[in-house]
Symmetry: C2
Subunit: 218 residues, 2 copies
Amino acid sequence: VPDVNRPPRRIPDATVARLPVYHRCLLELREAGAATVSSEALAEQSGVTASKVRKDLSYLGTYGTRGVGYDVENLVRQIGRELGLTGNWPIVIVGIGNLGRALAAYGGFTARGFRIVGLLDDDPAKHGSRLGDHLVRPTSALAEVVAGDTSVIGVIAVPAAAAQDVADAMVRAGITSILSFSPTVLAAPPGVAVRVVDLASELQILTFHQHQRTEPAA
Amino acid sequence: VPDVNRPPRRIPDATVARLPVYHRCLLELREAGAATVSSEALAEQSGVTASKVRKDLSYLGTYGTRGVGYDVENLVRQIGRELGLTGNWPIVIVGIGNLGRALAAYGGFTARGFRIVGLLDDDPAKHGSRLGDHLVRPTSALAEVVAGDTSVIGVIAVPAAAAQDVADAMVRAGITSILSFSPTVLAAPPGVAVRVVDLASELQILTFHQHQRTEPAA
DNA sequence: TAGATTGTTAATCGATTAACAATC
DNA sequence: TAGATTGTTAATCGATTAACAATC
């Protein structure tokens, strides 16, 4: 009887955050016809160190071959499996303003395995307007759109003042993964994963460094 | 002669990334009429721990009062000063597709002290079209728009395949801070700060956790 | 004075890095 | 076999946390 191999499957957050980058680079490498890739080459393309690449990949399993490198096709599959990239994640976007419209039309989501299942907004003037394959519907349709499918990912692009209400409604509808572009902290119960991308904060982090460089002797 | 106070002005990256959040919360608190705030209250509103708030703020200086808390007005000013928020950072957006248009119209940039000085795109069909106060111009106008002003922040929203070329052009034009929404790693010389926000990667990090929860015994 | 809350310390935790034995 | 490259170790670095003396 072979030993039941129970790997300590605890992948560090920092590693998880880099897996999508590796995945993207590997897709490009495959596209370019590469059969194998070394940690050195993948590191170069991903903008990290080779040491980091090897350590990160070692958390997933032993997929490399010493003296050779990693099989591109296999590594794409393994990282995709780890990230749960089944190629078919439903997303619902709430808030069809400038940003929501841009997200709805963004080809990058479709290309990376996501499909929109609903576009919601509470402005009656927007209801019924068509965006791609979808009609804009009221936010109250959230439960209907999700329909108990806990794999649906909620995307929030409403003004900050409305974001918490939308997040609450998403949680009530059974959503457990939320990506918000509203510049405000969101509270959510333990089982719900929330990521906030604040575009202005990203710029402000840049101004900090710029400011440090231009006025070094503050 | 008073001792020349030379504080070890090295602020950790993790702290810098949180300063915009504190700043935003403090603006809200000020709006709500709060004169002072405790680390506990600011932590609650910022979604972090009180210990973290105090440690972070201690890197900036000694701005709190024991037994009382922090003066909201003063803390807004101090964090703003640290981030270099002069209320007038010029940004140029290259790539006026869905996302670029949304960014150009995004009120959050204006509200947080940024102003657009140029909208550029290499599609001739877009040239001359008006977006807010600006006409869309060819990317070749970059040097002219920047005009040697190294405080200009470059925002990239072109397809991944074109992003490195745009980044190179920005660097040539004298830009030293770049925020890219193109899903690709960007190479830049040492003095140039680059941040990449990859929208699809953000979703993929969520699918990892979702996948872990739904298929715990992989 | 008594109660509240900061600023800082020290311990812990997690992430990065360099080095190299293992091995293809 | 010789050269290349992984997987892993151990050291280092940076960030978080809890605790509490200082002090308003």
